[in-house]
Symmetry: C2
Subunit: 225 residues, 2 copies
Amino acid sequence: MTAESTTPDAYQPTDRTVPTRSRERASYDRELVHSILDEGYVCHLGFVRDGGPVVLPTLYARVGERLYVHGSTGSRPLRMASGAEDPGMPVCLTVTHVDGLVLARSAFHHSINYRSVVVHGAARQVTDGAERAAALDALVDHVVPGRAADSRPANAKELAATAVLRLDLAEVSAKIRTGGPNDEPEDLALPHWSGVLPVARTYGTPVPSDDLTADTPVPAYLTRL
Amino acid sequence: MTAESTTPDAYQPTDRTVPTRSRERASYDRELVHSILDEGYVCHLGFVRDGGPVVLPTLYARVGERLYVHGSTGSRPLRMASGAEDPGMPVCLTVTHVDGLVLARSAFHHSINYRSVVVHGAARQVTDGAERAAALDALVDHVVPGRAADSRPANAKELAATAVLRLDLAEVSAKIRTGGPNDEPEDLALPHWSGVLPVARTYGTPVPSDDLTADTPVPAYLTRL
């Protein structure tokens, strides 16, 4: 990474993205952040309303160094975010994957193996038509890669009812815990089982709609999942 | 449910817990809220720092009508929450389970089947020793039921390093989406597959610590998961 690089390998840490503890778990590596973001599709979006915090689950997608979320133009958080020229709505967008339950001999050292990304920034309404269309495709494809091309695109009425927010990836950090429990040396002789119980997200068998034509094949992009 | 009931079946809706849209998905049913909370163990905790939102993943446990989260006494959110006599720190605690990916014929009607709970309130540090100990047990047992009794309890030094926050369940709502896609009638003849891809959390084979005595059996409370 050189000072001239336009796409440095890491995000610049800020006061908000440097944790007060377990700093060894924090990372600003761009590729790592992207991989964590791309593996999920539900984020928890935080904003401030009437001085108090609000955290809502919502779908997101990444396109390069931008995250997109969408919703009804009538929903409160989306009404609060203003246009592209305005300062935007301060948000904190967090994505978390749980990879394992960490069982130590001591209650104190129990933990979770996880990978999370926290993004701070200002969310702005996307008003450009082409960017909006690309963002909506990305939102579908982020959940089921390949699906956007295999569905009816939004029509004018649907587009008008949908607000798209953009959040640039600038103030970003990842936090990761891996490995087994960190038991105290004096606890190692205790009789309790210790180790990790892996946790994963799995997909079941696709359930067709009641009104689906009987011979419609399950698409390959679904069986791949 | 009668007006005299001391434990009504539902939480009282407030301006913050009534959504502006998809109100039919909202519920205030106490038993439903409890079941969603009890199925998870990682929440996203939102609070306001320097006027901006912060959302962090953290473990939680429910004991009756109280939620507990814990952390290092040195962590920022836990330092911000004051003692039991103080007004506490305004938080929004959200728990989300993803149950399925909903694929409609139209991009617009794609959705997620999910169950979420949003709790608004003030988080306060728990200072009572017995309540702290019970909360820490609950935090371990919420992740792996039965584990608290099969581990070394926290000693005085560990207890002193751990902050426990309490959030009462009062301003609470659940939001649920189930079922298949809601396609437009005019889209039903389109050739795209439509239906639901179920999503679930699964556990892998327990991985013992490298330093675990070879003949330590995997406890029944783990194989049950």
